[in-house]
Symmetry: C2
Subunit: 248 residues, 2 copies
């Protein structure tokens, strides 16, 4: 069996997120749609393993996934077939053959997400589906201070909607960078892994400091509280994009 890795780009706007839904649940998902296409292409029943889920409405520039197949088709033929057959809001931008043991989720070493803010007094029409428009002034210094305090190796229970039960919520967050392009600011989160909804809740908490409703110095207390109510609100999914998944 060959093991094939895909790099995926998608506009999540009309999807119920990455993960295939159980039988009886309606709605299109990226994983479900790709599995259908790969199965049609190979004539096999293909299961696709993603590096992790993305939320309903969130996007990807560099999601990674892998699948096993007995097909002898060349990668080039596969990629051209997928480019032709997939809906226009999903694309396979890269493809390579990896060793049998490779697992897109278990072997992921870091991820990079952007949360996009449109700071213009007048919004950018062409980014309306991909950015959160915040026309009022923000305290960027406070946001940067809070961002620095969020980084490091911490228990991020306060920043997830998942019930962690016995699972560890400790993750290492390497950095949060502020990348400005014209009237847009991308909050770029790099870390070894992220909990469910973590980026959207961190972005919501950073904005609270930007609005001066929360002092940056409160971040350590919020982390220590280990409960969801301690952090700020979860922001919508449409400004969120998975930029990159890194492997060894």
């Amino acid at each position: 069996m060959r093991n094939i890795r895909l790099v995926l780009q998608y506009d999540g706007g009309r999807y119920e997120g990455w993960q295939r839904l159980g039988s009886g649940r309606a709605g299109r998902t990226i994983q479900g749609l790709l599995e259908e296409a790969l199965s049609a292409m190979t004539g096999e029943v293909i299961e696709l393993t993603g590096s992790g889920r993305t939320d309903a409405g969130a996007h990807a520039l560099g999601q990674v996934a892998n699948f096993h197949t007995g097909s002898a088709m060349s990668l080039r033929t596969m990629q051209d077939w997928l480019e032709r057959e997939l809906p226009r809001d999903i694309a396979v931008s890269g493809m390579d053959e990896v060793e049998t043991r490779f697992h897109a989720r278990y072997h992921a070493r870091f991820k990079r997400y952007a949360y996009r803010i449109d700071t213009g007094r007048v919004h950018d029409v062409f980014m309306r589906r991909y950015a959160l428009h915040i026309p009022r002034p923000l305290d960027w210094d406070a946001m940067r201070q809070a961002a620095d305090l969020l980084c490091g190796k911490h228990d991020y229970t306060s920043f997830t909607n998942a019930r962690m039960k016995d699972k560890s919520a400790v993750r290492e967050l390497f950095s949060i960078q502020f990348e400005k392009t014209g009237q847009h600011v991308d909050l770029v989160f790099s870390g070894e892994g992220f909990l469910h909804n973590m980026v959207r809740i961190m972005a919501g908490t950073l904005l609270e400091t930007g609005y001066q409703r929360l002092a940056p110095g409160e971040i350590p207390r919020i982390l220590a509280a280990r409960e969801r109510q301690a952090a700020g609100p979860m922001l919508p999914a449409h400004p969120l994009v998975l930029l990159e998944v890194g492997y060894e």
Copy 2:
């Protein structure tokens, strides 16, 4: 009466173009929708004069229009009102008060349009609504030669679908530039004015030279023919954007 000039940004994807439709004709237009908003805002019946029409499905980053009003509202209040009330695919990015005689169409001195081509073997998902995907190789040298031959002061009858009758089809086309950003190439047309569908037909003719189905040396003959059938096909509207309208 005050005379107010607007700079407009719009995603034309769901509109029947700029121009208000006659009574009895269904469909939303940018001009029609803006006139409704401006009339609601001022309590007057507002007529809006655009620098020119844009096609159904085409976009604008810098369309210019003007209207007269007796309203004493400040420009700032107007702009904020419009930002709040207009649909998210239209925005008023600039506003100023101009002398009474100013006319957005008569006084326009140049226009700049981009026709966007996605040259990636795999298309860019996020530009699918704003670019024409052409994965096969193009002869860019031939396209540049043909572009240079299209520029100058010519009768562009071959490059319009409008019946010009007694009107002059002579225009001055200043330049056609090729602006490359990653896998995208913008064909940027600058000229004193453009005939109906002219950019889309010029882009279609340039692509014929890119496919090596037409020699660049044929351009003077096509111009001289002064008939639509001499030129290449008209391309779709969605990759077309009006970038700028210039005034003295």
